[in-house]
């Protein structure tokens, strides 16, 4: 078979072509409908994927945010009085407002300091607090938290007392590098007062920390020491343990807070 015969054969093969009933408008309508369906399918897939991603994020966040060592954070028997989860980035916001444990819930103690140092610090705090804040009775101090990640860098202690206006509590943070905050971080998100320079050239900063209600406030004095450590003393207008008995004033003055914060015997070493 030659190429010419092939050409002729192919022409002849389509000789009995049936009539064409082609409707261009119907074809275009069909194409547009298919395009719309494809868009709907794509939108559905996008929404589905977004939903899966969102659900995955929501479900995985609690696992990511939960600390690996909850014992170090849960310092106050589940009803956390102060929270210091890791190195504070913005400082003050992590120490207030305080949750409200029930009055029957005792403050627990988690110790990581060497036994002798712990006892020494506790005993000294009880005596020193009574001296600095006259009129207080039943003064009791507890080291409530020692961050195990920074055994020599972060200690939180609480001092309980009774005052003529009722029961009260003071929280003391002793922190050193690398978890100690800077003066700049200290004033982030809180109202800072006029700093007071100490005889040795160091500075004590003051801040007012808003609480969960307008009447609940905390006064903090932070002593930024020359060795890089920071001692913060915070007193509240209410008893932070049960969260009741809101008073008009904070039971400790700025000076009393400063004296405690700058006490050289309140140190990590």
């Amino acid at each position: 078979m030659s190429e010419a015969e092939l050409r002729e054969g192919l022409r002849a093969a389509v000789g009995d072509e049936p009539p064409l009933t082609f409707d261009a408008d119907a074809l275009i309508a069909r194409a547009q409908s298919a395009r719309a369906a494809r868009k709907r399918r794509r939108a559905l897939v996008v929404v589905g994927v977004a939903t899966v991603v969102l659900m995955g994020t929501v479900l995985s966040l609690p696992g990511v945010l939960t600390p690996k060592n909850p014992v170090g954070i849960d310092a106050l028997s589940g009803r956390v009085l102060t929270t210091t989860a890791g190195p504070p980035a913005s400082g003050r916001a992590t120490s207030f407002p305080l949750p409200q444990p029930t009055p029957s819930t005792p403050w627990s103690t988690t110790t990581g300091l060497p036994g002798g140092r712990l006892t020494e610090l506790t005993t000294y705090l009880e005596g020193r607090f009574a001296d600095v804040v006259p009129g207080t009775t039943n003064v009791r101090a507890e080291v409530v938290e020692v961050d195990e990640k920074y055994p020599a860098g972060l200690v939180t202690a609480s001092v309980y007392f009774e005052h003529r206006a009722g029961t009260g509590g003071v929280v003391i943070h002793l922190s050193g590098p690398p978890v100690a905050m800077s003066r700049k971080d200290f004033c982030v998100g809180v109202k800072c007062g006029t700093p007071r320079e100490q005889p040795d050239g160091t500075v004590v900063e003051f801040a007012v920390i808003p609480g969960s209600s307008p009447t609940k406030v905390g006064y903090t004095a932070a002593h930024f020491r020359s060795d890089g450590t920071v001692v913060e003393v915070t007193a509240y207008s209410h008893d932070p343990a049960p969260g009741a008995d809101v008073r008009d004033t904070v039971p400790l003055s700025d000076t009393q807070l400063m004296v405690l914060a700058s006490d050289p015997r309140l140190s990590l070493s």
């Binding site: 078979m1 190429e3 015969e5 092939l6 050409r7 002729e8 054969g9 192919l10 022409r11 002849a12 093969a13 389509v14 000789g15 009995d16 072509e17 049936p18 064409l20 082609f22 261009a24 408008d25 074809l27 275009i28 069909r30 194409a31 298919a34 395009r35």
Partner: protein, 176 residues
């Protein structure tokens, strides 16, 4: 799609639908399937009509789409299981000269039947070269291969077609 584009596509579709169906028929050997292939190809062409680079050669692009659509169809399982017995249905002779018309019908059916025995890609090359009268370069574009491949496929296709024709003729002779 803009109105102007839609009008251009409509004009193209109306003008080329018959030619595309004929080519599709030579590919697949069935007018119903050819109609489906033509419609499907034009649908795909509508979706791609906005591509400016194909505006200058919509016919070549349409042929390419048609060929791809047919090859895709052949790969589908329900197409693969289809078996053809090679028998051509009787067609009424409308010609005034029964002898001449019969001869023409015989030649037409013989080529068509033989063409269906040629492998798909070789068949496509033969149709594009000898029915559409396309040069080798355009066939290469439509097939998505090199010109050398087109030439070799053409040569093999012709050999396969001649063998199929001889086989069919021998079968007819033996049968008669």
């Amino acid at each position: 799609m803009r109105k102007a584009d839609e009008r251009a596509f409509r004009d193209f579709a109306v003008g080329h639908a018959a030619a595309l169906r004929r080519t599709a028929f030579l590919f697949c050997g069935d007018w119903h399937t050819a109609e489906d292939l033509m419609q499907l190809s034009l649908l795909k062409l509508y979706q791609a009509w906005h591509r400016v680079e194909w505006r200058d050669h919509p016919s070549a692009y349409a042929r390419k789409v048609l060929l791809r659509t047919w090859l895709d169809e052949k790969r589908r399982p329900w197409r693969r299981v289809e078996q053809r017995d090679g028998e051509v249905p009787d067609v009424a002779d409308s010609s005034s000269d029964p002898e001449l018309a019969g001869e023409r019908l015989w030649a037409r059916d013989l080529v068509h039947a033989a063409l269906l025995r040629v492998p798909p890609r070789q068949r496509a090359v033969l149709v594009l070269r000898y029915f559409e009268d396309l040069p080798v370069s355009e066939v290469a574009v439509a097939m998505g291969c090199t010109e050398g491949t087109v030439k070799s496929q053409t040569a093999r296709g012709l050999v396969a077609l001649r063998a199929a024709v001889e086989e069919l003729e021998e079968g007819v002779v033996v049968a008669s």
